[in-house]
Amino acid sequence: MSDAPLILCADDDADILSLVSLRLERAGFRVVQAIDGDAALEAARSERPALAVLDVMMPKRTGYEVLAALRADPTLSDLKVILLSARVQEADVELGLSAGADAYLAKPFKAGDLVDKVQELLEA
């Protein structure tokens, strides 16, 4: 199990954080959790995950801000990022993708869609 890809999950809603983690663990990934933007950025730097699933509306740093910080850090430039958000208007999706996210998933999400997207990005 130790060589399974490490996924960073960040969401300020503990229930959703558990749900996402559970889904990814069931799919065979290792998971590191973060409860806000700062924690997410810290974990990304210390744990070196292969992929991050970031909520957009988080305290301290929004998903966008975390994403921007990740993209600005040359040592983390190949980290894949999925934004997972309840903000589903076209403008939100566009903003997320233009900020450098690899994918944008809407809440509520189907477990299958999330796992498929993670696997697809890791294989790419």
Binding site: D13, L19, A86, Q89, K107, P108, K110
Partner: protein, 582 residues
Amino acid sequence: MASFSLAAQALPGLAARVRAGPAAWSFAALGSLAVGVYFLLSPDAQSIFYVVLGFAAVAAVYVGTIRNLPRGERLPWHLFSLGLLGQVAGDAIFAVYEVKLDREPPLPSVADAFYLAGYPLLALGVFLVLRRLGGQATRAAVIDTVVVFCGVALVQWIFFIDPYNHLHFGNESARLVSMAYPAMDALLLVAFAQLLVGPGGRTVAYRLLIASVALWVVADEIYGLNAGSYQGGAWIDALWLLSYVAWGAAALDPSMARIAETDRRRMPRLTRSRLLLLAAALLTAPVILLVERAAHHSVHAYALSIGGAVLSCLVLLRLAGLVRAVERAGRAERLARRESEQAQQLLSFQNDQLRELDTLKDEFVSSVSHELRTPLTSISGYLELILEDEQDEQKRNYLGVVERNAERLLGLVSDLLFSARLQGGRLELERTEVDLSTLVRDAVESATPRAEAAGVELTLAAENVPPVSGEAVRLAQLLDNLISNAIKFTPTGGRVAVQLAPQDGLVRFEISDTGIGITELERERLFERFFRSQTALERQIQGTGLGLYISKAIVEAHGGRIGVQSEAGEGTTFVVDLPAIS
């Protein structure tokens, strides 16, 4: 007749005038001829002929007035008739003296009474004509009249009235009567000047009227300068006689009815003729002074200095009025400009506010979406987990109910937010080339489980259709709305048929059901926001009344049309036409 038509061809302007007022021009022509004849007659015959001609003019004015003017507008011209009649009466008394007694009447005589009574009537007639034209009551027009009057009065006093003070008369009344004539001429001169600059359209009758007043005044002034040497039958009689003729012709010409029509360009602005008149009035005093000095007369120092001062003040007053009017116009313009600037500022401020509100609304819609979707994420996510693990059939059924309702709630949230966005304006599309047959197949496929669960047969007949320009997500939403609706409103055992076919540059999507149908009354309100049919409410068919409102907005954003055919109890067919890419 032939020579007349030749002349008419040669002089089209004259011909037109002859046609316009044959009576007037016949009278003018015959009258002029008669004036010529006058000088061929013996002195006694001249006296009688003079009276006859004058009387003919009075008759012409009267007949012309009756013929050309409606009752109620005739007063000025009746005054002309009366004024001229006064002159003719004076002439007649004069003639009686000359023919019967072989001498001129004494001074003063009854003839003078008639003559003098005629002048104010004629002048009054002119002023009434001008008053009917309007514009005479304005301050500027009144000042102009007073200026002209002062100038004329100055001239009349110095050259025509005051000299009688230095002559020796037998009696004082003879002196007064002699002085009364130039005084009366002052009235006619002012009338003439006013006609000259008046706002009347320059019709034939108006010109003839100006000519007749001018002839009369000129004849009077020449007479006044040579009063001692005047003899009956002198050439200046021609001027008086022609004045009679012109007055009669003016009344006979039909254009006299239009004299009261104002030529707006001539309203009392400072037209060139008005300016010349004011300048002439202003120059009266200095010119008289020069003339008197040149002729080595004694200078009328008092009259000239008072007259000159009054005239200068009046002209100053007139110019002050003009300057004030210009200033007023300037102020009004500045005010209007300031108001327009303020209105523009207000408008741009309001625009900013609207933009701000629009941003706020988007922000609000987005946050509400977020706040509602977040708990739904946990509900449906954990439900999905439980359903995966749960083996108990009954519990699975119960959980299925919860899942369906969670989905309904999510659909409701999506529809509400989407319709809130629609309220804010037209739907913006991200257009690509969309193949509707693929979209329709996908929509039918995903609706099939629902149809089966409801016991409704769902069929699809899709032909190959040209692509449409549109947003695939929105078109899928449209198809899904309509198919879901049809299934929802069709009872178990019923049938929902979906068809897709090309149609004259359009792509037609048709969906028929054997459902509860829609009454004619309800069809009109079917696409309104939150509208729900009575049957749907009675049978407790779930819905928000947003689906068709959203569907219509999507179709219209794509430049298409949506229509419905239905009978209550007979089922419903929705038809959507979307323009194909040619």
